[in-house]
Amino acid sequence: MELSALLLSRLQFAFTVSFHIIFPSFTIGLAVWLTALEAVYQGTGRPVFRRVFEFWLKIFGVAFGLGVVSGIVLAFQFGTNWSVLSRMSGPIQGPLLTYETFTAFALEASFFGVLVFGRRRVPPWLYLFSTAMVALGTTFSAFWIMVNNSWMQVPVGYSLENGAFVPKDWAAIIFSPVVWVRFPHMLLASFITGAFCVAATGAWYFLRKEFEAEARVMLRMGLFLAALFVPAQLLFGHLTGDYVHKYQPAKFAAIEGRWETEQPAGEVVIAWPNSKKEANDFEIKIPFLGSLIASMSFDSKEVGLKDFPVHERPPVVIPFFSFRIMVGCGLAMLALAWLGPYLIWKGRLEQSRWLLWLIFLSFPLPFIATLTGWFTAEVGRQPWTVYGVLRTADAATPFLTTRAVAISLVLYFVLYSFIFLFGVFYIYRLLQAGPAGALVTASHDATPSRPMSVAKTPLVNGQAQEARGD
């Protein structure tokens, strides 16, 4: 493929948005979990819950900060690289993102301040309420983003006037059935990410024989929540598949690796889709299962890619594999999320070092599943930016030069890698320091608008005071 401004713009958007989603998908789940934890602490009064809460609040702060920093670029990238899209869909996407920014700013920023400063200044119920409001703020953010993206997947409630998408029915846009399948799917993904990271951290401490009281809370809460969320996620994943089947048949065929229309349709378990031959190499296929999965019947007719003209087909390899990786991660997580609680019930988890190792090593799975899920959704939507209405090739800024995008792509790559390395290293140090004795955490200059500063004091353990030079 030629290295055009269009291709580089697509790569740049994919890179920056993938980088960004890592952090919110973690913090949304973590915020909800922190709320649950605080409620449990206030209900039982056991200090171990409080210590675990304070510990994860610090990690939340860092991840939240990285999410904010990496998100700024996205607010501008629609205009810089996709000016035709932002001009045409501005009347719909602009207001949705305005709501996203405004609600996030109002809820997250103000109540996060209470979380950092307020433990001793506000009554417990207000503290709990603030925790819930931060969680609600992150959830709202996710909601508006999902409304926005769902509209690009299945545009509704608009009319095309003078080259712009004019919103005609906001209720149809916000209450689109697609939103209410994909939003829970994303939300559950975040919950599972939070739960697995917490459980993995608990397992890690157990393996190192440290902080066992806190580790037990993390491991149990993380695994029990995962045991509930993962099956629910499989259900919503299936429903998401249904919407794709109904509204985006070409994407569905690409995910399935189905070239010919079949009746009844088989299910390709694994293969190498070959776009040149318009067939699969090395295919392993189970008869009837394709019809069963897609339409809940044994004899339904399922559309193949060849039914679509070549210029309306999505790329096949990426959706095909990323979907399978996502499902694979999901099944692996299901196994862990059920095996863990089973062994807890049997009272054997803490002795089963092999399972602790597996749980510890499983923390990348939810991130991989979230990313590959998004790859499936976004690459599968091609060649459209707004499905069926605006082609990606027509959505980009027309006068952008390859040189300009090459410069920006390299710069973002360097900058983001830099931030990411430091951020991850920083979180690692926090995890390593552990939750012990971290009862009073708010450093003097931590503020609501500087979430990362929450973690300042404990990380450097007093040497910082000298180093700061004041």
Binding site: S83, A404, S408, Y426, D445, K456
Partner: protein, 328 residues
């Protein structure tokens, strides 16, 4: 409805310029500070506030997209490379804030990133204003200037001018915020930067007259436009007085008034254009359905709440920074 969103946009831009202006300015001054102690107290003067200040840039961005999508699409794509530099600069200075404390030997990297990032961000904003005053190469409502269509001697001059302006605003904030040696330094800087800014304004004005920009004609036909510069001039005089009297809050208030009057001057001379002289406010505005959807939630309820939050935050951190002895 359109005027409401023009107002929201103006307030957001003004808040951004005033608030992030002073902390970008302090970033610029930071680069010239020789000792760690001074640098640390500079940061202390803005630490709790800078991130909230930057939020107004994002607010400006999304309001522009939602309410005036054509302007959003046109300007952001026209300023592709400068915007990239600005965002890079802002990210660099943002993380420098967090990471310089954790670094010992490598602190100079973060310090350089902080100063340079601030300088670049300020410069780009000045260039953008300059390019708008001069007029972007537009044809039929489309930008036709290519990668460097915004670049001109005048725009670059404005870039330098805004760096001086932000540095002045930063120095004024320091005079308000600090005590002792740093306050003296701040006053020295103001004595040096204020005439500098005046000089730039005169040069910029002469340049514009000489080049006969389209904007200049409006000045001849709209005498009311001289109101804002008059306010600015009186604020300048007051600035001189407050420096003499050592009224610590004076410099910031008067410099802020100078910035507001500069904004007012520009806005009035562009009116009713958003991108002079190609796209008007009415042409750029999103359809009524979009504007009223935003109005009945974000505009009517959340926006005032955000303003209250800014006031609250500044009240909490008002007054002098206490000396470091009782800091912990």
């Amino acid at each position: 409805m359109i005027s409401f969103w023009v107002a929201v946009l103006s307030v957001s831009i003004l808040l951004y310029v005033l608030l992030d202006g002073f902390d970008l300015g302090i970033g610029i001054i930071f680069g010239f500070m020789p000792t760690e102690a001074r640098r640390a107290s500079l940061l202390q003067a803005i630490e709790p506030l800078w991130d909230g200040n930057e939020t107004w840039l994002v607010v400006t961005g999304v309001v522009l997209w939602g309410a005036f999508p054509i302007v959003y699409a046109t300007l952001l794509s026209a300023f592709y490379l400068p915007l990239l530099a600005m965002l890079g600069g802002l990210i660099l200075r943002g993380v420098a804030f967090e990471f310089r404390d954790k670094a010992e030997r490598l602190r100079w990297i973060w310090d350089a990133g902080f100063a340079l990032g601030s300088l670049v961000a300020a410069f780009v904003q000045g260039v953008a204003v300059g390019a708008l005053v001069e007029g972007l190469p537009m044809s039929d409502g489309q930008y036709v200037g290519g990668d460097f269509g915004w670049a001109s001697p005048f725009a670059l001059l404005c870039g330098v001018g805004l760096c001086v302006g932000y540095a002045l605003l930063g120095a004024a904030w320091l005079a308000y915020k600090c005590e002792g040696e740093l306050k003296d330094t701040a006053y020295r800087l103001i004595r040096f930067l204020a005439p500098g800014l005046l000089f730039f304004l005169v040069v910029v004005f002469a340049f514009a007259l000489n080049k006969n920009f389209a904007v200049m004609e409006r000045w001849l036909t709209r005498p009311i436009l001289f109101l804002f510069p008059m306010v600015g001039v009186s604020a300048g005089a007051l600035l001189g007085a407050s420096v003499k009297q050592r009224w610590d809050a004076g410099p910031f208030i008067t410099v802020a008034i100078i910035f507001v009057s500069a904004f007012g001057t520009l806005a009035l001379s562009f009116w009713p254009y958003m991108i002079p002289f190609s796209i008007t406010i009415d042409q750029a505005a999103a359809p009524r359905e979009s504007l009223s959807f935003m109005f009945w939630g974000a505009g009517l309820f959340v926006f005032p709440l955000m303003l209250v939050y800014v006031v609250f935050n500044y009240r909490v951190f008002r007054g002098k920074n206490r000396p470091s002895a009782d800091h912990y």
